[in-house]
Symmetry: D2
Subunit: 433 residues, 4 copies
């Protein structure tokens, strides 16, 4: 059945986001309302004070774009089951519903302690809770929603609508994060890109040639957002602090040991922060005391200092090239990233073991978002009326350069220990963007 | 001494907000960082999900505009002590530092229980805490900052820079609230208005004629923001809930009974919300149970319903006119607002006394912001090189109409009681915008 | 048949404007391309240098919005003939195709000399030229297009889509004129208004209540655009000059005496301006010489000076009220506008007859755009699922005030004669916005 | 003396551009007003209909930014003569005053026939006309203005403020061209870049590190604007047509043979276009007839078709690398650009000689704007309080890639000859962006 909207929500990015009955019922659950209290970018507001936006708005925005993408593909005849549009919207609405406090930071702890990701929670929420009932009662399939949400649908190109390099996830978060943080970098002509979506004969999502510049622009935007927001030195400092505090105090607070999903639903950014700040650390346990201090310092923005930075081009094509020739194009970036991590760790490891406040922050983002199945993407399908062809990124000079660019190593410590560790690492190449 | 900037913060409204040493030191205190956790608009995010912005950004933005206004007045020769620019910036930075959780809602409780306003706290913070030391140590005067912040400076026009109808407070919050909520209504050409600021010979702040349209536009924006955001039926519903819950549970939680300012500084929106939601209400105290339920329902956006609405033009000029003539221009708005409140209260009062969930929400906003001394404003000074004159609002037709427009009465109740109270009030004129 | 797009044009207001085959063929004619050389606002660029935009872009934008409006009304079931959407788009695309050089200025001359309006030309172009053939060949009806374009279609509400207070004409030109002139006043949430369009049982176009604020905002925008752009004193000065020059030299240049439409199509702003500037005026005909001088002065922006200004509230309701009571609400605006014109004309008339350079500029704009049949509009239909009702403008306080506000009288003369005429008119009330 | 503003102009890019007396007098001359009739982008409006903006607005905008840059450098102590700020503003205001109709297209003809550039005219206008008098009368130096305008001032870094990779020219035209064309690509944070300007000890203009991302973004914007606007296939088609028509008919119309600058001042885009379209070509001179047809076809947007496209990376560093190694990074771009031109010319040359309508369009833009002395730029100076250092573009991966990217060859012909020439060139590599 065609979508019937029953209301709308004002959104700074997409103006008016309309919703259907099944969407309204899901949005109205406390499970979903919870996303209002989980910030989209855990620590970015420490540098960009406006970046207080939450997963709630992002989920609505993704739903909006998923509807647009679904309608485009339906109109172009790539699928005929009109209900898939509603399923796509629901999948986008719910793709982040499994996120915990501080989003990826909590996920990191969960993975360590439980080998659990936000996708695992997401699946359970879609299939096992009240939300499952709502979906079913309205005539849709929780299984379809869940499979689309997490990259397991049979039609691979539909998975790509939800996550990956042409996904509504990306097309919502870039302009949204940019808008709220106040940077100019995240402008995305998502309207044009989505209107240009096509499906290749190999069942892979692609675009019409007319949107190639817009696609290129979007990837440059993403690269710039990584440099200026997501991987910002000070943003990461705050995240390192909350991660360590949460990881350490989790042993006592048992944040990740819940009996039911209900316990999980109670957790959100500010609530967990209060728990950490108010943990009654006894003097006999200095590590606890320090973890509490980290949380309190985070809260009042008294942040750790970065004393070492290293960025790497891990672009595979480049690496291979480098091996095969004498004169290297980018010799200063050619040092093995793994080796560098190892080196740094060998220096600071003993200090960490001795409980000293020094933290290694390693971030690896594929600059080009992975396909839903987590395979690296190295090309874009161009699909026109006349013909379809594949353009590998090394044919798109700008994109080629930013492929795989964004790996980094940073070392953080307290103000007091700053000079000590700085001198310890002074012989290491200190390289930044 | 001229301002020397030592850093800058990215802001979506003003792009880059630079700060001086004294400002940096104040911003870095936990007293000021606390404002990050007090939303600018307590409940607006329930209708406009993006409106999560805090008093922190607004304070920075006001400081930015205060510097611009100060520089303009200094350049035009209205004052010669260049340090007043820094004092104005500090006054704007700190004018909201006394706000508690949920801003005006907490203030309402404070006023009831302690006869305390956020200005009282603000003064104490500026004069008695670490912030006072920072100001002094950097060579400025806490007394001057405090007097400018709260409308007590000798030069009345400088008070007007901070609050009132031409204030940086207004010129920051309108575009900011509009930006984050995603409405189109709050566009303000503050750049032009501030550049046009002049001081009348009567020492009142005015504008150059060239900015008269921009001023008119700003007041229309304010009117539209009141209608669509600040007084939105559903926004007010959330605020009524949190107000009642906080007011009731305050008796047990003693939120407003603190020994020191430190206790006050611990409070913020989400922290207080968690306190309310987790209050251990015993079954024997149904009012407590209901107050907890209100907080929890607020948190999951399960809001009270509005069953009665009444808006009034309380414009004094109109009222006077009405008295003196037979044929009334706006007869349907002419009923006495006070009488209406009294009538409604006489109906629902007994139900309230019996503990039934019915709430009266009375909001009165002067549509034209009051001058710092809380006197009503009814004119704008136009000051040109050639001459200065005063334009009363009834010479500016649009402004005249929106003067004093925004008084309202609403009655809220639960879903269960909706029909009961609706029928109880069915004979009353139910009028809205 | 459903619309099939064959291409798109980038537009700063609507981003991508798609077009169908019939639209492409019309746009590609030299008749339509001609609109690129007729500015949307004849003289506004003299004050707002960016306002060089043409009727070409406005026509495309109107087409875009007409499609959106048509689709909305079709989706809501108000009509079932899907081809009406294409007809509406063509009507909007062609509603300005009959405009001549300097738009309304040429029209004024045409009306004087031929009693011809741009609508008359428009009809002839749609019905008698190549454009008629294109429409027919593609399976559509020139008659239907023409009747929709010029307010003669049987379904009155469809005429209102093209012109009037809820028309795509208005919704395109307000934001467009604002964008190119660089004023902040013309923001219109046309997306929301168009999505809210409904048809009353009386077959009148209306809106859903949810868009009432947006509608109000649009009317305020229009009022502000009139004050700051369309009726700007200096803008009108340029227009008075070109009007007079064109009117006078038309006797020799015979601009309005063409045998065929082809001759008319040759005319455009800059071409006519060159004709006027280069007219070989003999010294024996000083009036010719002066007309040429006016054109040349216009070209180099050496403009006439305004020495008298008078604005009037001609609001009928107010006028009636005033008559019936002693104490008048706005006494200073109550003087009869006609009487004022008469007075001024009696003073300057003899000087005009003597060939002196003094010009009377009388502009009367209904602040609320007239319905297609040129009847005044005084109310807006609100049409909801539950009920429909009519809201007269005097129930909408802001709109009420701006209704009929914008009548004005101005007197312009040369720098040399400025003082002379100023003193001549010094006893007259000189009143402005 | 400090600048004293006497008025302001509304501009969509910079909002309010204030001007001083000397500026007002220059702007008011017909020499300067003439720039209103010379479009900034000769043919871009054929693809982006909104791109009708003129050199007039761009000149004002450049003046505005030059003042901001001058003030920044003055405040930072790089120069102490405050009058240089006014000279810089005048230089920016007048840097384009020597442009003729269709800007660079007319310049191309002038260079062929007279070896004259717009800079030559600019110098003469600043030094020999009424504008010189105005500058002198107001106490400034035409020589200084002229030398700054055209890269001949002793202080090289001041020349760079007016033209080159950090110039106000670039920082005005990128956002302006983007705004009016409606593309999203030209966003430039010029405010931040200009505020970050510094002068290296080598007297070269540089930036503070904090603006490095903004600088990078600006260069990416420029690259995208070249691809999507300046070098757009269809934009160039129109320009090829007008260039050829003007070049050919110039022999009869003698556009470039003027006795005085006054004759030159009479020329503007639409006026020359009318001359070309109305040239009385006799049938005995088919080349004239064709040149007239080209102008008329241009006017009605009946454009030549592109049948061959070739783009090249002429980056010198890459080229050198390529020579020295076997395995080439970008082999498909490595073919010699000159050789390619030669090849194409050898094929179509005889057809051109025989008067057939086939045109070669070769465009070479340094993707990184040249320094004022037309030397290639390959690095950016980073100047901080602590230290200054030079960052060569190959250390900035994205910038490195776009350096020198934008050389291209295109072949255009008529619809009729399209297939013939297409098959003639079918064996040549046809490569595009």
């Amino acid at each position: 059945m065609a979508l019937k909207y029953v209301g709308e929500i004002t959104d700074p990015i997409h103006k008016n986001i309309k919703f259907t009955t099944v969407e309204k019922e899901i949005i109205d659950t406390s499970i979903f309302q919870r996303l209002r209290r989980i910030r989209q970018l855990a620590g970015a507001y420490l540098v960009y004070p406006g970046a207080l936006h939450s997963r709630f708005e992002h989920s609505l925005g993704s739903m909006f774009l998923a509807g647009m993408a679904g309608q485009t593909l339906f109109d172009k005849g790539y699928f005929t089951d009109i209900d898939l549009i509603q399923h796509l919207r629901l999948a986008a609405l719910l793709h982040d519903v499994g996120h915990g406090p501080f989003s990826h930071l909590f996920e990191e702890i969960l993975k360590d302690s439980k080998n659990y990701s936000h996708e695992n929670f997401g699946e359970r929420i879609i299939l096992e809770t009240k939300i499952s009932d709502i979906i079913k009662r309205n005539g849709y399939s929780p299984d379809t929603v869940s499979s689309l949400s997490f990259g397991k649908h049979n039609s691979g190109y539909l998975n790509e609508v939800i996550s990956g390099g042409l996904s509504v996830d990306l097309m919502d978060y870039l302009p949204r994060d940019s808008y709220f943080s106040g940077t100019e970098y995240g402008k995305v002509d998502y309207f044009r890109i989505i209107n240009s979506l096509e499906v290749a004969s190999s069942k892979v999502l692609g675009i019409n040639k007319s949107a190639l510049y817009s696609y290129e622009s979007m990837l440059i935007s993403r690269y710039q957002m990584f440099k200026s927001v997501y991987f910002h030195k000070t943003v990461r400092s705050g995240e390192v602090m909350i991660l360590h505090s949460m990881k350490h105090l989790n042993r006592s607070l048992h944040l990740t040991d819940f009996d039911s999903l209900e316990d999980f639903f109670a957790l959100h950014d500010e609530m967990v922060l209060e728990l950490l700040c108010n943990f009654p650390a006894s003097k006999s346990r200095p590590m606890d005391t320090f973890a509490v201090k980290l949380a309190r310092d985070y809260k009042s923005r008294n942040l750790l200092k970065c004393i070492y930075e290293y960025f790497s081009l891990s672009n595979q094509r480049f690496e291979k090239e480098r091996d095969s020739k004498q004169s290297r194009r980018l010799p200063d970036r050619a040092i093995d990233f793994e080796k560098q991590i190892h080196l740094i760790q060998s220096i600071i490891g003993s200090h960490q073991d001795a409980g000293e406040p020094v933290f290694l922050d390693i971030s690896r983002a594929p600059s080009i978002p992975l396909a839903p199945k987590k395979e690296e993407v190295t090309s874009i399908m161009i699909i026109n009326k006349e013909a379809e062809y594949e353009k590998s990124f090394d044919q798109l000079p700008l994109i080629n350069v930013i492929t795989g660019y964004l790996d980094m190593i940073r070392v953080y410590t307290t103000k007091e220990k700053r000079n000590f560790f700085k001198s310890l690492l002074k012989d290491f190449e200190n390289q930044n963007f």
